[in-house]
Amino acid sequence: MSESPKTHPTVPGGDPNTGRGLTYEEPLLFERSRPGRVGYSLPAADVPHAPAEETLPQGWLRDDIEGLPEVSEIDVVRHFTRLSTWNAAVDLGLYPLGSCTMKYNPKVNERVARLPGFARSHPLQPESEAQGILELLHRLEGFLAEISGMDHVTLQPAAGAQGELAGVMMIRAYHELRGEKRTRILVPDSAHGTNPASAALNGYDVVSVPSGPDGILHPEAVDALMDESVAALMVTNPNTLGIFEEHIAEIAAIVHARGGLVYGDGANLNALLGLTRPGDQGIDVMHFNLHKTFSTPHGGGGPGAGPVGIKAALAPHLPKPIVRQREDGRYELSDDVPHSIGRLHGSHGNFGMAVRAYTYIRSLGPDGLKRCAEMAVLNANYLLARLRDRFHVPYDRPVMHECVLSDRDLAETGVTTLDVAKRLIDHGYHPPTIYFPLVVQGALMIEPTESESLESLDRFATTLLAIETEAHEAPELVRTAPHHTRHSRLDETRAARKPVLRWQPDEPLS
């Protein structure tokens, strides 16, 4: 049976918005719209109505607001509640999206972030009226510096990618201050796409460094490329294969010896908490992802937060303003940074995320954070052990917080990584990250995090093994998955070929 994309299944005489049982269909807001409905009440008019057309030229005023619906509060509540039931989420089950660290987001974080003294404070209110906020920021900077072994931390970048951008800007400023014109940045072939993109946004040429046959960087590879034209090497440790870069200290020494700096992508910091510190490995600049390591929610794609830690040599280049504690114990925002890269955010970064991360670090303490890394690593290795006999493991060695499999051994069945991912959905799992890192063909990148119990891991492993069996015995079933979702596979080619990026009425609204 085929439906046209703009109609919905109807039962004669029934509600077109009701699906089967408790799985609801739901149109777009605009299709629910009826003239005159509002979901809002305004306070009584206590000042005279000022007609805008008396002050502003008529041509500067708008007639109608296109693009907004007219719906009641219960329409809105049902609309979004129904939409929410179509999402996978950490609170529903294991979400092993590699490199994204989909750990549990404690509820207390949300409660704290909503305290009026945080949520309803203003970025430009006098510093004397924001002492609690500044104290929290200052303390959190200290926590992150201690966890990472860096000398200073800025909380301004709004996301990991903006943290990378800030970090590379500081690297550029560092070299410029020394009168050096370095033009290249080394990025391993297994790096996140944001690394080369952040380097390019700074005007750098990106040079790819090949990983060795064991999946990690080797000093010789860096040595061969490292010269006085290279501003920095960007590394992720553990790398995106989940493997610890065991030569990191030696590699950092090579880079430093030729005047370069080492950037650490902190996406995988969760594996290292309390065990080893990037600052002790030779890293000069790194970013943190508060939404990965420090349990702030992923929010359907953001907001995250991407603080940056640096060694003292880069302190003159920190983004402005910085938070400082004065001699009298009071806190202040200061622009006193001699060679700052400038400002990165309209205000002070994603403060609401800093509150949650602070709450998390205080809740876990030093022992809890270390245990979190240990459990994350144990869980990933356990899954690898359960799966390694039946799935191809491109780099078969102990891993840290995540493991990477591939679809190589399924080639004869015609089942690919994408199919395995879609079939996992039928069993109630969000798939792992797929086709990344690029160094592995058909990669399945699995990060269980420390949040999962043994039973949860066993169920997931058993499911993946069952899918592997299905791939051999009933490949068509896997190739056409998912079968139990509201939507079967969506046509992404069609979406890109003729982009429809907003709703438009089929016919003029009456």
Binding site: T55, C100, R120, R277, H298, P303, G346, G365, T480, R502
Partner: protein, 434 residues
């Protein structure tokens, strides 16, 4: 578990970390606290800040205190929204995807442009991304920026452009508060002219006129908006010649939260869509012909294109976008207009009261809900008197517009009633000195 792995103890798992790199001590952090203790600690920190519940709040300047209907937080608190991630797997992310598609439609309508992305970090970075996009579209490197652009946006723009050899020129403000004619500043190498509407000092610009001057030299016209509610009253920038509209949608149900997380937006014309940074959601069908939504045109993005991507942006501000989409649905086309008119009326009332009390408006140009007023004394004295009366009276403009003399930027909203405005007036222009 260890047996399955073949390890004797947990430490075995960390043999890959060279001995000399291992931390041989506990992290120097405060010991773990119970939930009760953590809450108590954070409540003390929170209590040590002024906020818009504890004062009558006239401070805007890019971050606005508006009333947020209860349904917003109730809906975005659904864990299916806030504990999900980027909708990479569309079959199990239709909730997020459909909401983003609705958001794109709303921003497209409000800005008068054909396509809006799934949001940016904040208004400042959205403005910087808009400038970078204009440079890619025009293959030019010069940028002309109105003095009326929020000073923090300008600083972020300068930061983003620093490594790219772009020349940034400032378009001065005239005596009315409006921007000067940009014609003389626009050269053959100018990629774009950036105008904030209303300006940082609150005045409404003549966009059509500025757009014409910009287009005459082949540059793109960018309109930045910090008070998104103004879009409900003022003509859509896209209808007045804007090629890109960027800005901050925090006003739409997102808490001020000391400045973040907020919600940047960026809208463009369809012909430029392939140069647009950030996530985009598009409509499609599944194999059974059922309508659904997916992330699309991702060949623009860093995870595909790497160093040749349009931007390095990876996340959007998903949950803030959700707040704004719920908020705009609740208010709808009528409610948002009425709210904008109330904000406008309150600001006009405040202007009348303050001038009647003997104060002078700093700029004569028309405004929306925010305006600059001159003081008869150093601003610290007035702000302090207002504070004692329970008011955060506005932004001291001394660091931002010293040419105006002692002056405040005052914002009136639906939260600042006539009574609060009257008290503001008494605090800033006390009877005794009249």
């Amino acid at each position: 578990m260890l047996e399955a792995i073949g390890a004797s103890d947990v430490d075995t798992l960390f043999r890959c970390i060279p001995e000399k790199l291992r931390l041989d001590r506990a992290l120097k952090l405060p010991r773990a606290a119970s939930e009760q203790e953590v809450l108590a600690e954070l409540e003390v920190l929170a209590a040590n800040n002024a906020h818009s519940d504890s004062f009558d709040w006239f401070l805007g300047a890019g971050t606005y205190s508006h009333f947020v209907p209860s349904a917003v937080d109730a809906l975005i608190s659904r864990a299916e929204f806030y504990t999900a991630y980027t909708p990479y797997q569309p079959e199990i992310s239709q909730g997020t995807l459909q909401a983003i598609f609705e958001w794109q439609t709303m921003i497209s309508g409000l800005t008068g442009l054909e396509v809006a992305n799934a949001s940016m970090y904040d208004g400042a970075s959205a403005t910087a991304e808009a400038a970078l996009m204009a440079m890619r579209v025009t293959r030019r490197t010069g940028v002309v920026v109105a003095a009326g652009l929020h000073p923090h946006y300008r600083q972020v723009l300068d930061t983003y452009l620093a490594g790219l050899g772009a020349e940034v020129r400032t378009l001065p403000r005239t005596e009315t508060g409006a921007s000067a004619d940009p014609a003389e500043l626009i050269g053959d190498d100018t990629a774009c002219v950036i105008i904030q509407q209303p300006s940082f000092l609150g005045t409404v610009e003549d966009l059509a006129c500025l757009a014409e001057a910009t287009h005459a030299r082949g540059a793109l016209f960018i309109v930045a908006v910090t008070e998104a509610l103004s879009l409900a009253l003022l003509r859509a920038p896209g209808d007045l010649g804007a090629d890109l509209v960027c800005g901050e949608a925090q006003s739409f149900g997102v808490p001020p939260a000391f400045g973040g997380p907020h919600l940047g937006f960026l809208a463009a014309r369809m012909k430029h869509v392939r140069q647009l940074p950030g996530r985009l959601v598009g409509e499609t069908v599944d194999t059974r012909g059922k309508r659904g939504f997916v992330l699309t045109l991702s060949t623009r993005e860093q995870h595909i294109r790497r160093e040749r991507a349009t931007s390095n942006i990876c996340t959007n501000q998903g949950l803030c976008l959700m707040m704004a989409t719920v908020y705009l649905a609740l208010l709808g086309r009528r409610g948002l207009r009425e709210l904008a008119e109330l904000n406008f009326s309150r600001a006009e009332y405040a202007k009348r009261k303050l001038t009647a009390a003997g104060l002078e408006l700093a700029l004569p140009g028309p405004t929306f809900n925010e305006f600059a007023v001159k003081l008869r004394e150093p601003s610290e004295a007035a702000l302090s008197r207002a504070r004692d009366a329970g008011l955060i009276a506005g932004l001291d403009l001394a660091p931002y517009a010293p040419d105006l003399g002692p002056a405040l930027l005052v914002c009136a909203t639906e939260l600042t009633g006539a009574d609060a405005i009257d008290r503001l007036c008494d605090a800033l222009a006390p009877q005794a000195s009249r």
